[in-house]
Each structure stands twice: as C-alpha cells, then as structure tokens.
Amino acid sequence: MTVVDLGTIRRLVSVTVDDVEHRVPEGATIMDVLDDAGADTPRLCQAPNLTPVNACRVCVVEVEGSRPLVPSCARRVEDGMVVRTDTERVAHSRKMVLELLASANDLSEAGDDVARWQIEYGADPERYGPPGPPAAAGERGNRHAGHHSLPDGETRATVAQPVTVDNDLYVRDYARCILCYKCVEACGTDAQNTFAIAVAGRGFDATISTEFAVPLPDSACVYCGNCIGVCPTGALKSVAEHERREAGTWDPEGETVTSTICSFCGVGCTLELHVQDNTIVNVTSPHDHSVTHGHLCIKGRFGFQHVQNR
C-alpha cells in the first residue's frame, strides 16, 4: 500500500503583497508567498535546505507596522499582514546590499542571478574608490576584535586574500566569502553535525575559520563537501573545479548533468554528476530530494575517480 504523506493540516491566512491578496498556509514565509507569485526576489544567504539566518538582508521587504525593513526569507506570514516590495525603500536597500558586497568581495562566480540583480538594482561598487591591497595569507584571521587601523579613505577595504589550499579535495577562496553562514550551518546542525568551521573574529574582520585557523586536515572536517554544496559565491569549491578555472578550461556551458544513484551504501542518495569534457568535475544532489536534502557524504561527493580510470 502506498502511504501518501498529507503533511500537517495548516490554516490559511490572508496576506496582501503590493495590493494583491494571497491566501497561504500558516507558517509560510513572506518569500514563499513572493516565490509562488512569481516575483524575482534576490537572495544570497537563503537556501531551501537550511535554516534562515537572514544575514545578507538582500531580500528585505516593507511590512506595515514595522519601522525597519523585514527579511522575507525568515519572517513568517501573519493573517492580515500587508507587505510591499515595490517601494523605493526596498529597492534602495537591495541595491545597497548588492553594492556593498560587490565593493568588498569578488562576486564574479556568484552566478547569473547575482549578476542580473547587480544590474537591475543599479549597484555601483566603484564609487567607494579603488580597492585596497589584498591581505597576506592568514592576516585577516589574526585581527583582534575591536581594533582596526584608521583608514585614509583613499582605497576601499576589501576581503581580498590568497586562496587557501590545504587538502586534496577542496579550496577556500575567502576573497569571495560574503559571510552568508551557509557553510557553517551545513557543517553544523543543519546537515553534518561536524562543527569543523565557525565564524571567528568580529565585524568586517570576521572570517569563516577552524579553531586557530588550523588547516582542514587538522580540524574536525570529514570532507563531506556539504559546505561546497551550499556556497553561493564560489568561495568554496572542489579542487577539480579550482584547477580547471585556473587553467582556463572551466566550461560551464559545455557541462552536462547526469542523474544516478550512489552505489556506496544502502541509503541510495540521488547524485547529479556534472561532466565537462567527458570528465566528472562535481557531484551534487537535488536540495528537494527527500533523502539527501541536497547533502552528501565524502564518498558520494568525491568518490568518483574509479569511474573515470581509463
């Protein structure tokens, strides 16, 4: 007999978005409503398979009765809620978040959506002056909370720094890191429960770090790669991808994706093999998959070399 999961029975509540009324199940987020309505709501730290941290603030909307804007990814709808997304305030904040991030980070691998939002909202990171010099390896992680050197404003501070390569499976390119917390969540209670990395330091000098910034092989890391799976900006990526990008042979247009089932154990995770030039370059799993929720283990994500021993 097939068991059909009907889910929890939920009351419908009424929400008005830009003058249009929506009837949605209680417990939905404002972003759920916007997505169902087909709106193009920008997002960076939000992921369907992670707990919202509402840190990036790019998805903000106006909610009647709230002075500050509200992150649509995390705020749950209430009956009678009146939401506006079409205001100048909303557009300004979204533009500024994208602009401030672009002024401090390398967003060139953050994907087509981010590139489109940058243009649509009119982000202009260059108006903060030329970028300052990159930090030496490890320097950003050694700054003491509450102390920074007085800037002269001639250049804009960035998080630029060399790529960290300390293991065979993945690299950490923190010049791209926007501190969305996704990797920390995936390493922690949202998926892996390994807690190898956390946010360290404070303010603009905060970094994603192991304890005392030790190399990953000395940390609790189990190389599940779930941090790579959720990273939105290319700050975390496989060594295979990193090397191809460095060599100029990375070819996302020519990439094909093949679905299969992982053969390593009895769980049966769905794998998506990303293939370029007849070589597997990455392995992912769909975030809406009922078993994996997009997360894998080291074998599923990296254990594919035997397939291509030719």
């Binding site: 919202p52 509402n54 840190a55 990036c56 603030r57 790019v58 903000v60 500050p68 804007l69 992150p71 995390a74 705020r75 305030r89 300004h92 904040s93 500024m96 978040v97 401030l100 991030l101 002024s103 401090a104 108006r127 903060y128 002056g129 050694n142 003491h144 909370a145 509450g146 102390h147 920074h148 007085l150 800037p151 002269d152 404003g153 001639e154 804009r156 501070a157 926007i178 501190l179 429960n193 390994t194 807690f195 190898a196 990395i197 956390a198 946010v199 360290a200 330091g201 404070r202 303010g203 603009f204 000098d205 905060a206 770090s209 192991t210 304890e211 005392f212 030790v214 940390s219 609790a220």
Partner: protein, 616 residues
C-alpha cells in the same frame, strides 16, 4: 557529536583556571564558556590552543565554535600577549579630555601597543568613566610574563600586593582620572583605590532624589546600612500584594526602558508573567557600553543592594526563579559590589529557596561581559550568556516569547529595574504623576565633556536640557554642541537647550534620550576627530552578521576620512549622497539597533555643519 580536539595539552595553570569555574560539572554546559575563558585570561593572560581544547573538552563545545566565541570579544586574546594590559580610553568622552595625551605618554613609556611582553597598553572604546576622564581599565592576570617563564611554563607569580586576595585568578581595576605614572605603577602591581561614588554624583545627599537617594549615603558593602535606609521595604510590599498587582503597578506607572530603546516595561513583564511556560528568566542588562554612559556603573558601585532587591521583585513578579546579571567586563568595581551584595542577600535569606520567608524561589547569577558593545543589545546579550558569539537574533520571536535558553525572558536595564522599587513603594499612579505622556518618573543623565561638575544627575522627566546643565554648574561657556543619547544618539546645538528631556520632547527635535548621555563640546573641539572616532567605534563594534552594518560601517568611516581630509571622490555633494545612501540601508535593513543607529550621530553632525558647511 564527537569532539575533535587539537593535540596541544593545557598547562597545569590553565587546567586549574578552568577547573575553578567548571568544577565537577560533567554535562555539556556551553553557558560556562565565557566564564571559563575569563578564568584562563585572568590566570594565564591569554587563551592558548591547549587551554581552548581543555575548555572544549570540559564543556563539550566544538573547538571551532569556541574559537569563534573567543575571537569575538575584545578582552580575550588567542595570541600570547603581556599578562597585564592597560586599556586606555580614546573615545569621544576622553580623547580631547586627556585621553589622547595619555595614549601618547603610554607610547613613550611602554612603546607601541603590544610591543612589550610583560606589561603593555592598548586603545579602548568608552570605559564608562567619562565624568573622570581620562579613563583606564586594567586587565591584570596573575601569570608572570612570558620572558620570566622560560624553562618553567607553569610558573605563576601573584601580584606583589593584590588588593583582592579572594580572587587568586588575577584582578582588574579602573583608574580615572589616570596619569601615565599611575597606570605604569598599577601595571607593576600597585594597589588601585576603589571608586568614590560621591565624586561621580555631585547631587549625592540632596533631599529630592529617588534613584540616587542612597548613593553616598549607604555603605555599598553593608546590608544593614541598606536596610536602615529603607532597603527591602519594596520586596516586602511586593511579596505582600502579590505578583499580579506588582505587574499592574509597573504598567500603570508607564515605566519605559532606560537602556535606550524606551520599551514599556509593563508590557514585557505582563507577557512573561502570563506565559504558561514553566521555566522563565529575568535578565538584568548591566552591559553599559554606549559611549558617554556611566549611570548604571554608578548605581551598581554605590547602591548594589537596590539592584539586587529590584531584580528579586521583578523575578518573582514574572515567575522567574533565576535572574542573570550581565555586567560589563570593564566594570570590575561594579561587578565586585554586585557579587558581594548577592552573596550577602543570599546569606540573609533575601535570595534563595525561600525569599524573605515567602516560600518563593529566586536567585541571581552574575556573569561578566568580555568587551563587546553589541552585547548591550538584548538578544546578543542572551547569546553571550549562552556561550555564543554576541550576535543579535532575528525578532520575532521576541525575548518575552523565546529569550534566554529559548524561554520567556524579561530583560531590563539596571536603571529601569531600580525604578521598580519606587513604583512598588509608592504605587504606579504616583510614579506616573511625574513627567508627562510616556515619559514618567525621574531619569538619570550622564554629564561629561566641558561641564563644570560632570557626573550622574537625576531629574524628573520633562526637565529641560538647560536646567540640567544649570545643575552641573551652568551652561558651559562657548558651548558648540551636545552629543545627546550617546554615539547612537545625535548632536544638538545651544539653541536647542530648552528642549524638555522626555521621549516626546527630544523626538520633536529629531534627537533621542538614548541612554541619557549629555556630552558637551565647546567650539575649540575638533569635530572631524570626534566624528571619525564615532564612525570607527561602530566599525569596531559591528558584530559582522548582516551586510548593511558590517560593510556599511566601513564605508561610512572611509567616506568621512576622505571628507575631513579634503580628498572627496567626485566632490563633497557626491560624498554626502554616498553617506546618505549608506545611512539609509543601515537604518532600514540592519538586523539590530546598532546598525540602525550607526549613522545617527554622523548624520546629525553633518546636518549641523559641525564639519564643513551645513547640509540640511
């Protein structure tokens, strides 16, 4: 979860420090993370890999997370440094009033910050001693400096003359006003005299005081002295009339929070008192760090039993059995006074399993902050109490629904709580008859800068700014501007002195009461330096969680630097537009009040033409 720890072993001294806090506890106790780090800092002077691993092992905390916590707080160091450090205030209340001169003198005596490995100094944000500028906070670990430890890694050497023999794990002290001589001697272990509350409260002993009525009158270390001055009459009455009545009186009194946000206290209390959850908490926010603010420090140093009694009234009224008092890490005298008062109150049955024979249970735990302005934000403070980074939480849910440890929690500021005693004694209507509108009762103000008699002053809500200045020796000659409400407040000018000091009155002129800061500047002030310090403050103190504040505070400081140096990109108008754009996103889209007010003072200073032309 299996802990993977670094192979480095803790020294005996590090183990002893941690064990002193953790004791025989064996279950995971993440909330002891800050106390354990404090113990290591106090005993050894820095947190080594071995020490961190041992803390993690004892408390069952993943080391990466513990490291994230240790590196969040300015008073912790995860790199070796001198065991004795002088934190010299160079913030707006001190810099022009001896602070910068003191920094120069310290540099001359001890070299650059961090240069020496036995004693050193560092610059510090506001230390809450503004009425006695320039201010210094001393961290004195009991360990000997690294150079004296060679070949004997566990060597510890007690300070030659530790003024607090009951605290073998090092001691801390404040010096204000400080001289380079006094600081250097104190770094060498010389005794530092405790605070004199009368100096900080020029009104002490005046007849019409409420909040300050016992300051300078009672002995802060003596429970009998407090009782003789009417102490514990409030708790007696509260127990007699019952919790529901107490909550009603607070609501009727229209008491609003005195930490800066001015939220109605009764609303918080009623929500938590009415919650069906079995476990609830009371938290006292004594993490006073708004630049220019020192009122809560004075209350705690001079009248600690009042706060202990008020917390007991509040805790029992809302149904909490435990109250946490989170005191600023840079307030060692206040912490000692409170610790002593809590112990005394407990010993005499005013705290514990049977408060004043009523059968009600309530006790207080004192926790020390570790150098983070953001922890004055209520949800950041709760995270800090839980042993996490002091990052504000998303609201809703509000603390009254899911606060400390996820339980319904009332969190109130020190001054707010001390007001409770008067409300319980006189009733809500009497309290509400003072002041007007939402602004009832009396209010403490922190006067500093170019005033004749700086200090904490208590006046009825509605007193004008001019009347307040008269109390402190008159409107200062050549007054140019007043920073009202703190770094998160705004500047007002001499033509606005007749503003009534109420929530409504200040709002009408686009200002705020904030935490009661009245920091006066005359026309010789270098406002460019003041603004850069304020911008630098927010850049340092942003927790880094949300983009508008994390990057916005950096861009604000950079743009100000260009403006004051005459190096504008595209001209002044373009730079002012850039500042306005950054201001708007921080104000509109930051998670918490820090980011939402980080541009406030800069905005008002630019509008008033304190640097360059007027722009409004």
């Amino acid at each position: 979860m299996d802990l993977v720890l670094l192979p480095d072993a803790a020294t005996d001294a590090e183990r002893a420090a941690v064990d002193g806090v953790v004791g025989t506890v064996s279950e995971p106790r993440r909330d002891l993370l800050l106390p354990a780090f404090h113990a290591v800092m106090d005993g050894v002077g820095w947190i080594s890999r071995g020490a961190l691993s041992y803390v993690c092992e004892r408390l069952h905390v993943p080391p990466a997370e513990a490291y994230g916590v240790a590196t969040f707080y300015a008073l912790f160091s995860v790199t070796p440094r001198a065991p004795r450090v002088a934190h010299v205030c160079d913030d707006v209340g001190c810099a022009a009033f001896g602070g910068e001169d003191l920094c120069a003198a310290m540099e001359e005596r001890l070299g650059a910050p961090g240069e020496r490995d036995d004693v050193t100094w560092t610059r510090s944000p506001c230390l809450g001693l503004c009425e006695r500028a320039p201010a210094v906070f001393l961290q004195r670990a009991s360990a000997s400096p690294p150079s004296e430890r060679e070949g004997n890694p566990d060597a510890t050497r007690a300070l030659e003359s530790s003024p607090h023999d009951d605290e073998p794990g090092g001691d801390h002290a404040q010096i204000a006003p400080a001289t380079a001589d006094a600081v250097v001697h104190a770094l060498d272990g010389e005794d530092v005299p405790g605070p004199d509350p009368v100096v900080s409260t020029p009104q002490a002993g005046a007849p019409d005081l409420e909040l300050l009525s016992r300051v300078g009158v009672v002995d802060p270390a003596d429970l009998d002295s407090y009782r003789a001055a009417g102490g514990y009459a409030g708790l007696r009455r509260a127990l007699a009339v019952g919790s529901a009545r107490v909550v009603d009186e607070i609501t009727v009194a229209s008491l609003t929070g005195r930490g800066g946000a001015a939220f109605p206290t009764g609303t918080k209390w009623a929500a938590v008192a009415g919650s069906p959850e079995p476990e609830k908490y009371l938290v006292c926010n004594a993490d006073e760090s708004e630049p220019g603010t020192f009122k809560d420090r004075v209350l705690m140093e001079a009248d600690p039993f009042a706060l202990v009694e008020a917390m007991t009234v509040a805790g029992i009224a809302v149904g909490a059995r435990t109250g946490y008092l989170y005191v600023r890490g840079e307030y060692p005298a206040a912490e000692r006074a409170i610790e002593r008062a809590v112990a005394e109150a407990r010993r005499h049955g005013y705290l514990g399993d049977d408060v004043m024979g009523s059968g009600r249970v309530f006790d207080i735990e004192v926790r020390r902050g570790a150098g983070a302005y953001i922890c004055g934000e209520e949800t950041a403070l709760m995270n800090s109490l839980e042993g996490r980074r002091g990052e504000p939480r998303a609201k809703p849910p509000f603390p009254t629904v899911a606060g400390l440890f996820g339980r319904p929690t009332v969190i109130n500021n020190v001054e707010t709580l001390v007001n409770v005693l008067r409300i319980v004694a006189e009733g809500g209507p009497a309290f509400a008859s003072v002041g007007s509108g939402r602004s009832t009762g009396t209010k403490l103000f922190c006067l500093s800068g170019v005033v004749s008699r700086p200090g904490v002053y208590e006046v009825p809500m509605g007193t004008t700014l001019r009347e307040l200045l008269e109390l402190a020796g008159g409107v200062p000659a050549d007054l140019r501007a007043i920073l009202l409400g703190g770094a998160a407040g705004s500047f007002v000018t001499p033509d606005q002195l007749d503003v009534p000091l109420t929530l409504e009155g200040t709002r009408e002129i686009g200002a705020t009461l904030g935490s009661g800061v009245v920091l006066c500047f005359d026309s010789s002030t270098d406002f460019a330096a003041v603004l850069r310090r304020i911008a630098g403050f927010f850049r340092d103190e942003s927790c880094g969680q949300c983009v508008p504040c994390r990057v916005g505070t950096v861009r604000q400081e950079e743009a100000l630097a260009r403006i004051v140096r005459g190096r504008e990109i595209g001209g002044r108008t373009v730079e002012l537009q850039l500042l306005r754009d950054v201001d708007r996103v921080m104000t509109d889209a930051s998670i918490c009040g820090l980011g939402q007010t980080a541009a406030s003072a800069v905005r008002s200073a630019l509008a008033l033409g304190l640097i360059g032309e007027e722009t409004s």
